[in-house]
Symmetry: C2
Subunit: 347 residues, 2 copies
């Protein structure tokens, strides 16, 4: 927080919008009309438009006690861009709906927008509109992202094929452990505000929680290598839950190898401190915003050139069910045990 506190009421509703959006420079030729009218106008020039939305509610999806507003602004954008990439599309615009209580100052909204603009700049996306309103208590964030895709090059969840390789990007489970550290330090602080947080050695997992990135690079790699995944989605609820979606919607089973699931060293160490199984964090932790996708076996040689991609299993007949083979060699049914109640819904 800055030291100055300007009440939002001193600017008024339209003044606030003007203040927050005055420096916008549109980056995409497709952004025809941006902030400041009844609606934005987009021209995707012969491409198809991809659209997704996420609603983030204080106390449910984020805790401002340990989430800097700038990080929150950044992450609010990222979680939506991740959904656009998961369709094999390129994000181009976002619109932002905010519900703000009078607890927040203009300076705090500036911080939030700094994060929003940082994400927009990094991913080449334009903020083209929104709605700012009051809320009685908490902070409410609604982000809608649009993107574009060459006609019929989008990738759904329901089109995986038997025998396809099951792959994931990056590494999994870190964000959940980051959250565990933050929750632990919050608890300690609540009990004794004199104790300073001790999170120095956990910057990797905490960074994955507070400032996730979307896998733009993977989509660009697919395009360059002319790989067309047969099915894809992003990992927001945990690997198990997402794989089960692909299996169900594609009417297939799968074999997932525990030993192939990518988990970072930092994540393993962190899991050790909490005496929990890092595989469980990867399967059910969520919020990793990596991609899980299926590709034809013929693309294997291309895939292995990318260190950021791990082949973790393959798709089978539906009768075989969705299964995991543990490091010990035993086979189990894959089950979704998200740690997040009612969340992230249709996306």
């Amino acid at each position: 927080m800055n030291e100055t506190r300007t009440e939002i009421s001193s600017l008024g509703e339209f003044g606030l919008i003007e203040h927050l959006t005055k420096n916008i420079e549109l980056q995409n030729a497709s952004s025809i009309v941006g902030v400041g009218d009844d609606a934005a106008v987009i021209d995707h020039f012969g491409k198809q438009t991809v659209i997704t939305t996420d609603l983030l509610v204080e106390g449910v999806h984020f805790d401002l006690m340990y989430t800097p507003l700038k990080h929150l602004g950044y992450k609010s954008v990222i979680v939506n861009l991740s959904d656009i990439y998961a369709m094999n599309a390129t994000p181009t615009q976002i619109i932002l709906g905010l519900g703000i209580s009078n607890r927040f100052s203009v300076e705090s909204m500036d911080e939030f927008y700094e994060g929003v603009y940082a994400a927009c700049e990094k991913y080449g996306v334009d903020l083209v509109g929104g709605d700012t309103t009051s809320s009685q208590e908490g902070f409410i964030i609604s982000v809608t992202a649009m993107g574009e895709v060459t006609p019929d090059k989008y990738v759904k969840r329901s089109t995986a094929q038997k025998g396809d390789l099951l792959c994931v990007s990056g590494d999994l489970g870190a964000a959940y452990l980051g959250l565990l550290f933050l929750e632990r330090e919050k608890k300690i602080f609540m009990e004794n505000p004199q104790i300073q947080p001790d999170l120095e050695n956990e910057s990797y997992v905490i960074g994955r929680m507070l400032k996730p990135e979307a896998r733009k690079d993977i989509i660009e790699f697919f395009e360059k290598q002319e790989i067309m995944p047969s099915a894809m989605m992003d990992i927001s609820d945990g690997l198990s839950s997402e794989i089960l979606h692909i299996c169900k919607q594609s009417n297939l089973g799968c074999v997932l190898y525990e030993e192939k699931i990518p988990v970072a060293e930092e994540t393993k160490k962190a899991a050790f401190k909490f005496e929990i199984d890092p595989t469980a964090c990867a399967l059910s932790g969520g919020e990793d915003y990596e991609l899980v996708f299926t590709v034809s076996q013929t693309d294997f040689d291309k895939l292995v050139t990318n260190e950021q991609i791990s082949v973790v299993g393959y798709m089978t007949e539906p009768e075989q069910g969705a299964t995991i083979i543990t490091k010990g060699g035993s086979k189990h049914a894959l089950t979704a045990q998200g740690w997040n109640h009612l969340k992230n819904s249709t996306e």
Copy 2:
């Protein structure tokens, strides 16, 4: 409310979505991929895409004590479609973000969706995606609407011309009076729950508040008559506020004639009961979801064929300012005195 109460937790997050969206039949050829993936895919076939969003928060934008959930679902869609029409575009898709506390049952969500689907059907719009999440207390509704427009036929707020006629659709001020009645009956009920609400004679103004419509017909009239408004916006905050936006963004002044402002007989009677000026309700009441627009004087003959359109003034040099000429003939500066604090923002 129905008599049965099914806990949302009994269906689970994905079960709830499936339950609420299982009967969707997409109406638009442009809706390529709908509910059930990371994002929806839209193909506007050579048209430009128009997009807008609104965030509605319980206790700020609606009071469930006198707002039936079905009406709320309907209205949540309408307020967004109104923004799309205000761009001279045709709405085609919506996506819906909902924050629901455990106060709500599956049956209550069914009621809300009934209203959403009724609006979608009436206006030929598809629900193509969304996000359903939990909220700690209130009900949060985020609607994003998309539409399409023939390239460069959209109408902004900033392009009115000096000498253009200033026009509005329908009649104004009714929704605000509807709200006053509902608030009054709520207060009486809170003080004495035995007294039944007495709203029978106020169905017009209450209907305008609880179940507004968007002016699809006006946009269709423009197309048929080949009228291209020079500037347009919808009336959500009150006529004054919207006219001031057009003046400011177009860098013009205006003359508005009080006697020309269309106010329904029912609205006048209702205003009389509250001993307030019906003109003030029209100027500052808001929530009418009519259109205010400017057109070239050469279109006057076409305009007068439509009883739903009133010419209320004209645009002037900016030096003249935005002015109103009262019924008594005196001239005043037009000022925005919305009754809604921090609301409806950039739209």
